[in-house]
């Protein structure tokens, strides 16, 4: 057990400040445990969002010493014994209160994405869909997403340029990729990926990939292939001519 110094943001949309807390920390604790201890003993109304406490639900996203992280999966022994620990809410979204940010914008983006529609012809005679494991491996990677929105939080387009009206962000590029690469899906989302969801705004700095707690290769496996599909559709002169001459329905 050791006494540690914590600095937590206290405040809301109208402003606030970093406040100091001195707290006993036990072996094996994660940052969220320490925040809970402060809540119990020193600040009963300290707001923090959390659920599963095992890195599976993506609720407790915060910025710890400037780094976007899940508080439940950040061990105290990642920091030096005398290091002061500062925790703030994720910056790309408006603060609600203390460590909690208003992430409702993300839920609005998901609604704009055309939902999954399966191809009934891919059923066998018993009514089961047939898909091979190697055909679903890549979308299973995207479907590991726990919607912690840490990728949204570090995306320059959203965080620094605040172009939330033009770009849905890496989380929803991954969602689009998981639909576009789904072996059963029949919807064409390439034009909406470009025109409505803003795929062109991503400039591939890979910051999203770096912070993903699920280690999803957001940029390389999701966004870049999507961008390639957009380029093939809109900017490839050979394909353009081909389509002009032999227009086909569907994908």
């Amino acid at each position: 057990m050791s006494l540690r110094n914590f600095r937590l943001f206290r405040g809301d949309i109208n402003g606030g400040k970093m406040e100091n807390y001195s707290v006993e920390v036990d072996k094996g604790m994660v940052v969220l445990d320490v925040i809970h201890r402060i809540q119990t003993n020193q600040a009963g109304d300290l707001a923090v969002r959390w659920n599963c406490k095992a890195g599976k639900c993506g609720s407790c996203s915060v910025e710890i010493n400037g780094k976007p992280k899940l508080a439940c999966m950040t061990r105290m022994n990642e920091y030096g014994p005398d290091e002061k620990i500062s925790v703030r809410p994720i910056k790309a979204f408006p603060v609600m209160k203390d460590l909690v940010a208003d992430v409702s914008w993300n839920y609005e983006q998901n609604k704009k994405i055309t939902p999954f529609q399966p191809n009934p012809d891919k059923k066998d005679q018993n009514g089961n869909y047939v898909m091979m494991q190697h055909d679903v491996d890549r979308i299973q990677e995207f479907r590991k997403c726990i919607e912690c929105y840490l990728c949204q939080n570090v995306c320059h387009v959203l965080r620094d340029h605040d172009k939330k009206d033009q770009f849905v962000g890496p989380r929803f590029m991954i969602r689009l990729a998981s639909l576009e690469m789904h072996p059963l899906d029949t919807v064409d989302r390439i034009s909406s990926t470009k025109n409505d969801h803003g795929s062109g705004l991503c400039n591939i700095t890979r910051c999203c990939t770096d912070v993903c707690p699920e280690h999803i290769q957001i940029t390389d496996n999701g966004i870049i292939p999507l961008k390639e599909r957009v380029v093939d559709r809109y900017y490839d002169p050979v394909l353009w001519l081909f389509r002009k001459l032999f227009r086909k329905k569907g994908k």
């Binding site: 072996k27 009963g44 109304d45 959390w50 659920n51 599976k56 061990r75 839920y107 999954f116 047939v130």
Partner: protein, 615 residues
């Protein structure tokens, strides 16, 4: 307070809780044309369903084509020690395959077999590989699929909104008062029906796999509204929770580890489960390590290893080893997968377990054994509902998923909760649709009821001084852990009830500091009432049931008693406000269902083969 300042929202139906059951119920209501509101305490997609790891049980027969609903039904009844509601267990086993296929129709991507079908894995108590899964994150796949389906179907979602209590028009449901967590403002939902899908109440215990949300809200609200609770004594202790470090004690380690071949050993390196095979399962369990190895290799004639016995059996066996001084350094047993599978296999089949131990315990499960011990995981009991409509005895009030009783009896099999929430979620949705179609209009609104509900919430903030809600909760957790734990006696339970009554007094004077805006202390204090109702009902039911059955173990009344198989313990609120526990005679089962459940596995397999030929 002017009631007109409080926002009122109208829907045909309000679903409270947005885990798998709530989402599936809401989708059903919305698909059938109801105006549907979905109210949840957390953000959408964060409910406890995301923690379900191993899979969803359904007799698809993709891996072993001998599987059939009758075998799933028999396994479920035996796992539940025959205390399950027969009809519910029947509906559950029959409808689960269709509910799983429907998820695929909605975009879920399960792991595949070699021929491209939904893959299925072995799990405790299931005769065949039956759990459709996605690595060890099946719950996430299910909740995300339902969430993405639901948002495009016109369901209105009200996130971070806590239900406080129901409004009634005479005996019927007429609405609910709730509170926005962000602002602390109140909201009145007027509706014709309410579906509870609030999950269990594991947060009443200290060592639990459950998150903060699991405060028994549905139990407390239903009880206050005049509904009954049933089988509350059956609280499942999952055998494998993490035991180290202390801050993650209780966090779940999926049964999938054992399903993939993991074994339990004690400090003497002995596979102690061989000494803990109950008579009922002896004929179907391997009695040598040789046979268990053959089974794992896929030999259909070999019997399953004893590590895959039902959860109640494994949890008690681990406890016994620890008590006898043969536990692991931090008071658990060793769960070894490192010596059973290649590192590559482990990382592919159990990625989130690998990650969880690596980060939280600094342990590499491909190299070392995990330390595991029992953790409060699931409520078999809950709100008493009709088997087909899922309606309580309060007209217009429905319940499904973990918060309802019936499917699982005295003990739930792993994988049966995800199937339960899909099957019963849909049933509750249909139940509400039928109820609303047969009733006429929006029931009238009684503002005095709403004012009373709001007052009792604001009193907590307005008191000059009082008890710290966090500390009341901690005391309750210690009490339930010690007195209403994995083994029980009359003395422990009587003291437990007394303890709960003392905490009721503390609760009546609870005080939350600060303002109403996103105030976790206030939220905690509001949840305490439901936690206390939950705890008192579990303790009273457990004291009444003088036998040991499934998850309920009384060392002063060992073994199952035939007499007790005739009864459920039912809880309801007395007119004087006190809690009444009562033995209620169970209905006789349908003879055909009884016949199926009691058949030997050999005879049932023959019958099922015949059934499939005729089909």
């Amino acid at each position: 307070m002017n009631i007109n300042d409080i926002k009122t929202i109208e829907h045909d139906v309000i679903v409270l809780g947005a885990g798998g059951a709530g989402l599936r119920a809401a989708i059903e209501c919305s698909m059938q044309g109801l105006s549907t509101g979905l109210v949840c305490k957390s953000l959408l997609g964060k409910a406890h369903t995301v923690m379900a790891e191993g899979g969803v049980a359904a007799s698809l027969g993709n891996v072993d084509n001998r599987d059939h609903w009758k075998v799933h039904f028999r396994d479920t009844m035996r796992g539940g020690k025959f205390l399950n509601n027969w009809r519910m267990a029947e509906l559950h086993a029959k409808e689960a395959p269709e509910r799983v296929r429907e998820l695929e129709e909605w975009g879920a991507v399960f792991d595949r077999t070699k021929t491209g079908l939904i893959n299925q894995r072995n799990f405790g108590g299931h005769r065949y590989p039956r759990l459709a899964h996605v690595g060890d994150r099946t719950g996430l796949e299910i909740i995300r699929t339902l969430q993405d389906r639901g948002i495009h179907q016109g369901i209105e979602v009200y996130m971070e909104c806590t239900g406080l209590d129901f409004l009634k028009d005479k005996d019927k449901i007429s609405g609910m008062v709730a509170m926005w967590r962000e602002t602390g403002e109140f909201v009145i939902f007027r509706c014709k029906a309410i579906i509870l899908a609030t999950g269990g109440g594991g947060k009443a215990w200290k060592i639990t796999s459950n998150s903060w949300e699991y405060t028994g809200d549905g139990y407390g609200m239903a009880y206050e509204a005049g509904a009954e609770l049933m089988d509350m004594e059956f609280t499942q202790f999952h055998p494998t929770g993490m035991v180290w470090p202390p801050s993650v004690r209780g966090t779940l380690v999926t049964e999938g580890v054992r399903g993939e071949g993991g074994i339990l050993v004690n400090s003497e390196n002995k596979r102690f489960m061989y000494d803990n095979i109950p008579e009922r399962f002896a004929a179907e369990t391997a009695d040598s390590e040789d046979e268990a190895e053959k089974w794992l290799a896929g030999d259909k004639d070999a019997r399953r290893p004893p590590e895959l016995l039902t959860r109640d059996v494994v949890a008690r066996a681990i406890r016994k080893e620890v008590k006898a001084g043969r536990g692991s350094p931090h008071g658990g047993a060793f769960l070894d997968i490192a010596n059973r599978r290649t590192a590559e296999d482990i990382k592919r089949k159990l990625p989130s377990m690998y990650h969880q131990f690596k980060v939280l315990a600094e342990l590499d499960i491909t190299k070392d054994s995990m330390e595991v011990g029992p953790t409060l995981h699931y409520f078999m009991g809950g709100v008493r509902v009709d088997s087909d409509s899922q309606m309580t005895r309060v007209p217009g009030l429905f319940a499904c998923g973990e918060c309802a009783a019936g499917v699982h009896g005295a003990n739930r099999l792993g994988g049966n909760s995800l199937s339960d929430l899909l099957v019963c979620g849909k049933l509750a949705g249909s139940g509400a649709v039928n109820y609303i179609q047969s009733s006429t209009s929006m029931p009238p609104f009684d503002e005095n009821q709403a004012i009373a509900i709001i007052r009792s919430a604001t009193d907590i903030l307005n008191r000059e001084s009082g008890e710290n809600p966090y500390l009341i909760h901690e005391n309750l957790q210690d009490l339930m852990q010690n007195n209403v734990g994995i083994v029980r006696t009359d003395e422990l339970l009587s003291d437990g009830i007394k303890g709960v009554m003392t905490l009721w007094n503390n609760f009546n004077n609870v005080k939350a500091d600060g303002a109403s805006q996103f105030n976790p202390g206030w939220h905690e204090a509001i949840a305490l009432r439901n936690l206390l109702i939950t705890s008192e009902s579990v303790a009273r039911s457990a004291k009444m049931r003088e036998e040991s059955r499934g998850a309920h173990t009384r060392i002063d009344f060992e073994g199952e008693r035939d007499e007790w198989l005739k009864y459920n313990v039912v809880i309801r609120k007395n007119l004087d406000g006190s809690m009444l526990a009562e033995k209620v005679l169970r209905k006789d089962p349908d003879p055909e269902l009884k016949r199926i459940a009691k058949l030997s596995i050999e005879d049932l397999e023959k019958e099922v083969t015949q059934d499939k030929k005729e089909k």
